[in-house]
């Protein structure tokens, strides 16, 4: 039998190597071509590894404990990483169309992709922390890249919060290490399940939740997070929100895997559900108030984070399937919306009051944006409908109809604000001069291509949701626990 080499670490290492090279050649002329090649090669990466546990440096089990750093790879993680890489490559392709694209932007984007994949893959708390920090810094950098004064300010605020949350997360990991003597998540869960709780473990749980909130933008960090989405370039924001959601899925699954089924987890479990509800409602209410398209979309990103978190926090197998599926759908349609915002702001600006009458100018783009808008509001036959249905079902199964009602209400709010934005951008009558101005400004073909790919995916997943769900289900069954209120 031929032993096939397990190339799993390449998912992380290859983008990192390329990121350093891109940073080195940062103003060369071939950067566009190289970035295009890079974007194409990213998509192959998730298929390189083989399923199972991977030990770094061959440090596997020793005297009953995993001594080194371990990665766990399975179909669910594969599909998350595939979507991540797909969005990454589409954003890179969109970035090629920018006038001042440079190696530094590509480099930061790749670093972020690699680190988020590492967070998703890792079965080791400290490794998760290290790459989580890299993602925080990368996000700051990507916001600053847009170069406006507001971008600087919001990035600075994000960094201040990041200092606090990051150091608390590290403290929490130190607590858990001291209480259990290991950093590997599977080992740690075994230890926690067989030993009584100590206050140190409570400390670890508390800090993990704070870290989760910062990394994903759940309240009270939602204002900071929405601000950085809004101040970044819109196509960069589509990457930023993808990072946040992937981190949310990864860390939430870590918390569930560590503490799931333990008696003292109940209150924290309630807190997680409450946080996700807050995220949903606060996001959508703030979004309804915005008059800036980018800001509106960024608050919706927060609201969707709340949905994903709600699904995962319910913690039943169905809930986890719904949560991960919603996260994947969300990567797709939210990125499509942000790319749409990119196209719109290339035409004129992102201020809703100044826009209007764009429908006759670019009907195809308008149709694609409308598809994404319907997907985010949960209208069949788009993918958002499938996952929101699953989420509501999961909430009903644990005997929490109130949660399902809140989800539906928030969906209604989403629909209203999305339609408001659609009206103000595309349908509102506008003057002749403005139409002339629209006709002179050009939109890059690259961003329309990316938008089209994402729209097709939206419809595809809406009609055949089983492609994704079948991949996730085994992993969800492994982690989830059945309970009712």
């Amino acid at each position: 039998m031929v032993k096939i080499m397990n190339l799993l670490p390449l998912i992380v290492v290859y983008p990192l190597i390329m990121a350093i090279i891109f940073n080195y050649i940062y103003k060369s002329k071939v950067i566009r071509i190289l970035a295009l090649l890079m974007a194409l090669s990213l998509i192959i990466l998730p298929f390189l590894g083989s399923y199972g546990t991977y030990f770094f440096g061959a440090h596997g089990m020793e005297s009953g404990l995993i001594s080194g750093i371990a990665y766990i790879f399975n179909p669910a993680k594969q599909i998350i990483i595939f979507t991540l890489m797909l969005i990454g490559s589409l954003v890179l392709i969109t970035g090629i169309g920018e006038k001042r694209v440079n190696g530094l932007f590509v480099s930061l984007l790749l670093m972020g992709l690699a680190s988020v994949s590492a967070v998703v893959l890792a079965d080791d708390l400290f490794n998760i922390y290290v790459f989580y920090e890299i993602v925080a810094i990368v996000q700051t950098g990507l916001v600053i890249a847009s170069g406006t004064e507001k971008a600087y300010k919001s990035a600075f605020r994000y960094m201040i919060m990041g200092n606090m949350a990051g150091s608390l997360l590290l403290l929490g990991i130190a607590f858990l290490l001291s209480a259990t003597g290991t950093l590997n998540i599977s080992d740690m869960h075994n230890y926690l399940a067989n030993n009584p709780a100590t206050p140190t473990i409570y400390g670890g749980l508390l800090m993990l939740i704070i870290g989760l909130c910062y990394g994903s933008g759940l309240p009270p960090f939602h204002t900071v997070k929405a601000d950085i989405y809004a101040r970044a370039k819109p196509f960069v924001a589509s990457m930023l929100q993808t990072y946040s959601k992937a981190i949310l899925v990864a860390i939430m699954l870590v918390i569930l895997k560590l503490f799931g089924g333990l008696s003292y987890f109940n209150t924290a479990h309630g807190a997680l559900i409450a946080l996700s509800i807050f995220g949903m409602v606060f996001g959508v209410v703030m979004a309804l108030l915005q008059s800036d398209y980018k800001k509106l979309l960024s608050y919706h990103a927060i609201s969707q984070v709340g949905y994903v978190a709600a699904g995962l926090a319910i913690g039943t197998p169905l809930g986890i399937v719904a949560g991960i599926f919603h996260a994947i759908n969300n990567f797709i349609y939210k990125s499509a919306l942000f790319l749409g915002a990119h196209i719109v702001s290339q035409k004129k600006s992102s201020n809703l009051a100044k826009l209007g009458g764009l429908l006759p100018i670019m009907p195809t783009v308008a149709f694609m944006i409308l598809c994404a808008k319907l997907a985010i509001s949960g209208v069949p036959p788009f993918n958002g409908f499938q996952s929101k249905l699953l989420l509501a079902e999961a909430a009903m199964n644990v005997n929490m109809p109130e949660l399902a009602i809140i989800m539906i209400l928030v969906s209604v709010g989403t629909f209203v604000s999305m339609m408001k934005a659609f009206y103000l951008i595309f349908l509102k009558p506008c003057s002749e001069e403005q139409i002339k101005e629209y006709k002179t400004t050009k939109v890059s073909k690259y961003s329309i291509f990316s938008l089209a790919v994402l729209t097709i995916l939206c419809i595809l997943l809406g009609i055949y949701p089983d492609i994704v769900i079948n991949q996730i289900t085994p992993y969800a069954n492994e982690i989830g626990r059945i309970w009712t209120l």
Partner: protein
């Protein structure tokens, strides 16, 4: 009026939070766990370095990348690779030369002492990097020592007449090179056995890092140490250069 209420709320919540943390810290009861494995299997004399570069080498790689990223982002704050540099132009463009670059530095006494001290400090840094796998020390510490010698020189001479001339291209090359060595040494591990960052002791019958008896297991650790050292020195020096000079910003926003 409502500030009072808010202050009370904040102080209460900090009290609870602080009490919770103190309660946790007070009840720490360390379980040995995986630590026993680390301390009982001998790789190299310095167990800390053994953990950092052998057992958990991938984490160290991540930490290096945090530093690299911070340097990239610091560069970005100062105008490198922005999509739109109008804000920086507004701040720095019109201003007629508040030039930090032309500050002459300190008194002659300090200048006389600074060069020998920074040279010795530099060599000490190299020594600390090299002894990383045997004595307490290693790449991070040694690299910071070398960066400190550079900072000493900059502080005493000013950036224009600085005797140690780490120009930007040199630092960038050093940093990329250091990180690439780390990443590619890891890849050789995959090529040899299929495990990333495997500590290879010998290749084709030759010791990877020739060392005296008792240290045969060092393998790639000294190389990793050197790579990290170069990278840390380059990263910290880049940040120093950026923070101490306006030239970089003016150059960045001019094109």
């Amino acid at each position: 009026m409502s500030y009072i209420n808010r202050e009370i709320a904040v102080s209460l919540s900090f009290m609870f939070f602080g009490a919770a943390i103190l309660y946790s810290v007070y009840n720490i009861n360390v379980v040995e766990g995986v630590n026993a494995i680390y301390t009982h299997s001998y790789i190299i004399p310095n167990f800390v370095t053994a953990v950092l570069f052998d057992w958990r080498g991938f984490d160290t790689l991540g930490e290096c990348l945090i530093l690299i990223n911070s340097v990239l982002v610091t560069g970005m704050v100062f105008g490198r690779g922005l999509f739109n540099s109008e804000f920086l132009k507004e701040v720095y463009g019109n201003q007629k030369k508040l030039n930090i670059d032309e500050i002459e530095g300190f008194t002659p006494i300090i200048k006389v002492l600074a060069i020998p001290m920074s040279i010795i400090l530099m060599i000490l840094g190299v020594y600390v990097i090299l002894g990383g796998h045997i004595t307490p020390g290693g790449g991070f510490q040694g690299g910071s020592l070398i960066a400190a010698s550079y900072i000493l020189a900059i502080v005493s001479f000013g950036i224009r007449n600085c005797p140690i001339n780490f120009n930007h291209k040199f630092l960038e090359t050093l940093e990329s090179f250091g990180a690439l060595i780390f990443l590619i040494l890891g890849l050789t591990g995959i090529a040899v056995s299929g495990y990333y960052l495997l500590n290879i002791h010998s290749l084709f019958g030759m010791n990877v890092f020739p060392s005296p008896t008792g240290l045969e297991n060092a393998g790639i650790i000294p190389y990793l140490n050197t790579a990290v050292g170069l990278k840390v020195l380059a990263g910290l020096s880049t940040i120093t250069t950026l923070l101490s000079s306006e030239r970089v910003i003016v150059k960045n926003i001019s094109d």
